[in-house]
């Protein structure tokens, strides 16, 4: 809608300016100065619409709030929304359209790792900025991308540490269950290496992958139950994605697996996903995130109230990727205000070191590796679909782009301030990976 209007406005402007070429140029640039455009690249149809639609609304909400505060650099912000329809190649096309045709200066978007990988070349070629708000497998640091979701060391590793602790039940046996694609596979590779380094025996780790949208979990849940009754405390680390979660949790409930017997800690299940399930049989199962709606801080209360007012839905929940979008948006605004320009090169250079408050009472600092500092929380599912925080990290955890537990990535370092490199090898002293 917005896009359409602005285009029409430009055309009207041109007609009004008459024949003089100079006048046309002036009117176009005058129009361009009226607003700063930000792109929103989230799927509004197809499989991923279930998760991404909320993030589109979040960016629109943040733009609205910013405009209420008087906009940015004296101009109004204007969001340009496109729908890449859960189609990975279409993400790249739509990204190109946003940057070249709509002239957006920054893009907030993507959810799945495969969509991010698909737009990377576009952002590099056209030198624009992408804020990526979802927890991911790491092993990447690009000059044009800022990762405001959790890296594995800000979510997966602390969750496993918690389960190994006394409070978490001193888990000795592990099921790593995931959907069959890049995020679960990489995360499980890191976790397996980490568990082995902690002295867990190979036969105490069971790895299981299922297709996207898997709906018949009877056999796998029965296997987990069997694996878990070997007398050692067992936990499931779930990187099961999206739609497959509801039938998975329903089957856990059906087969009577309680959190006190075999807890499941999930990295992709938040308040949004639980909205579709009766959570009574799931009480006590866990999720690791950097934000929970239930966290009681003044910032969070204000954010939830404003969000529910904006969406006119008093039941609308908030979740972790929303907070990551919030942080990314505010960091970008702060960087633009610092350099008084929306020029991508200037903003990219200004972003590392920017500090903005997060919603849980801490500060998110953009790091030289384009990740951010985050607190880590582990919450147990409550019967009202919310999470009760049972553990939080001691202070903020800086995001680590390259895992320290994987062969080939542990020597790599990302630093876009001093080294100007996303994969500097500390052994060979060269930029360019292993």
């Amino acid at each position: 809608m917005l896009k359409l209007f602005s285009h029409a406005g430009r055309v009207v402007g041109r007609v009004a300016a008459g024949a003089a070429a100079l006048a046309i140029g002036a009117s176009v640039s005058a129009k361009a100065e009226d607003s700063i455009k930000v792109g929103v690249l989230h799927s509004l149809s197809g499989t991923m619409a279930i998760s991404e639609t909320t993030l589109k609304d979040t960016v629109l909400f943040l733009v609205d709030e910013q405009n209420k505060k008087g906009g940015l650099l004296g101009k109004k912000l204007e969001a340009v929304v496109v729908d890449p329809a859960s189609n990975w190649p279409l993400f790249a096309e739509k990204a190109r359209e946003l940057i070249t045709k709509d002239k957006v200066v920054v893009v907030f978007g993507c959810w799945t790792s495969v969509s991010r990988k698909s737009v990377l070349p576009v952002f590099k070629e056209l030198n624009s900025i992408l804020f990526y708000p979802v927890q991911y497998e790491g092993e990447e640091s690009e000059r044009n991308v800022f990762y405001t979701g959790a890296a594995p060391n800000q979510q997966a590793i602390p969750a496993v540490d918690y389960l190994m602790s006394k409070d978490g039940g001193e888990v000795k046996r592990w099921v790593l269950a995931g959907t069959d694609y890049v995020y679960p596979r990489t995360t499980n590779k890191i976790l397996e290496a980490y568990l082995l380094s902690k002295g867990v025996a190979k036969e105490d780790i069971m790895i299981n992958y299922t297709p996207f949208g898997h709906s018949d979990w009877q056999t796998i849940v029965a296997d987990i139950k069997k694996f878990g009754s070997a007398g050692k405390k067992t936990a499931v680390v779930s990187t099961i994605n999206g739609d497959a979660n509801v039938p998975f949790y329903k089957e856990l409930g059906n087969q009577g697996i309680k959190a006190t017997d075999i807890p499941v800690v999930a990295f992709s299940v938040g308040e949004e996903e639980l909205a579709g399930i009766d959570t009574k049989p799931l009480v006590g199962h866990l999720a690791a995130w950097n934000y929970f709606e239930s966290i009681d801080t003044p910032e969070n209360k204000k954010f939830i109230a404003e969000w529910q007012a904006y969406t006119k839905n008093p039941k609308r929940v908030t979740n972790d990727p929303m907070e990551a979008t919030y942080i990314g948006f505010n960091a970008w605004v702060a960087a633009v205000e610092k350099v008084k320009s929306t020029d991508p090169d200037k903003v990219i250079d200004a972003l590392p070191g920017i500090k903005v408050p997060n919603l849980t009472g801490g500060t998110a600092e953009v790091l030289p590796n384009h990740h951010i500092t985050k607190p880590v929380f582990i919450g147990e599912i409550e019967d009202n679909g919310q999470f009760d925080v049972v553990w939080k990290s001691n202070g903020l955890v800086p995001g680590d782009a390259w895992s320290d537990y994987l062969e080939g990535s542990k020597d790599l370092e990302a630093d876009w301030v001093k080294l100007k490199c996303g994969n500097y090898n500390t052994v060979t002293k060269k930029c360019g990976g292993s």
Binding site: G46, I50, G168, I220, P247, T260, A275
Partner: protein, 537 residues
Amino acid sequence: MRLSSPLAVLLLGLALFATLVPRAAHAGPYEDALAKFTTESYADTAAALGLLATSGNPRAVEVVDALADGRLLVDPAAGKVYIRGADGSLADAASGQPAAGVDAAALKAVRANNRVRGAIAAASGALSLFNPDPAKRLAAAQAVFKSRDATVLPALDAALAKETVPAVKQALATARAAIVIGSSAAPEAERIAAVATIADAGDQDALAVLQNLPPDAPASVKTAAASAIAGIQRTLAVWGVAQNVWYGLSLGSVLLLAAIGLAITFGVMGVINMAHGEMVMLGAYTTFVVQELIRAYNPALFDASLLIAIPIAFLFTGLIGVIIERTVIRFLYGRALETLLATWGISLILQQAIRTIFGPTNREVGAPSWMSGTVDVGHLAVTYGRAWIIVFAILVFLALLAVLRLTRIGLEMRAVTQNRRMAASMGIRTNWVDAMTFGLGSGIAGIAGVALSQIDNVSPNLGQSYIIDSFLVVVFGGVGNLWGTLVGAMSLGIANKLLEPYAGAVLGKIALLVIVILFIQKRPRGLFALKGRAIEA
């Protein structure tokens, strides 16, 4: 309060036991436990529960119950613990007296995590071994079996001596054996007897107990355990196969439900209907709407919500089917490719329409009480929900078979399928029959949606995950033959579930596809080929 005699025995037993525990200056273990609740640490809360279980204080049960329900409140500054009653009144946990003049808003509920919940189960197990309700005693025995807390042993012995209900007595004996087997204080003969008791239970949990003997157990106990383990594993392996077959039947019934409507539209009419999955999805959303209305206007009817949803879903999706047939498909008969593209377009339109109306997120469809829970058949846990879906799939199949065989419209449908022109010349309105047939197929898909709403996401994408499987079943079973669909669905379901444990879910599915492709190469008409002139043409 009148002390019932089992409780008195418990108190006696526990008092005896408590005298062996060194006491703090003034306070007993009960007071120590209460003090630990006020520190707001999970470790202390769990330790406090351990103390409560053996404190012998009659209020301990009340405190544990309150903690389990989140009704145990503390004032950390004053170090006081209160129990909130069902009516909201506060009582001092230490004295049991009503607490007056306490500001409830200033109190904090004692929080529970998994570790604390585990400790609650163990403590409440130890405390309710003498509960007058046999069901509670059974649960208590099972909780003790799980916790294997050696300090409960004296109470367990007392309970065992008093117990009269055979099932509870057996559970108590098993729980006792689980403790004795790992205790180095017990005589060797008793431990070997315990192995036999555990082996009688013969399930996964028994296996876990036997596999985790302490390393210092005598050799004789270890040998007895080893032979018991081998015996249990043999039995469980047999049950494992039964379990996979059952899961296969369950998956097969889901496939049957999803495919049976397609067996009509694709199998009987020859229309490649890509929007079939969306009919299933519409059926699931109809269930959601029906449940919401029932919740809003007449919650008492909730248990019947699915039964009410079945005819509504059938009529609604059937109507949509007739509309699609009249407005789009009838212009495309005989043009398979165009039909495929047109119905695929319809499926996208329907998906996005639902997404716009109901939003992209999942909708919650509740399970009526008669569909929740499990029943144990031997070592096989049968969930009611899955069992009902199998029954339902068979009923739908039989009903459809009856419609095709016994009714006039069924006769006309078969006539049109077998020879359209001959049927037309006999005075059958083939146009009308086409519309009704498509409506019937769509309506059946809608009914399938009602059942699938119980096991899958109710989201706009629901149908997509079933469309490929449905075609697979119909093609494999033999186009145009309902029995083929039944046999096809069940054999694919069972084959999938037998492959899955060995090949994994991803490879299992691939293997199944390859098998079906090879089979179709050999028998292009599927399992049950239909014979007839029109089919040949």
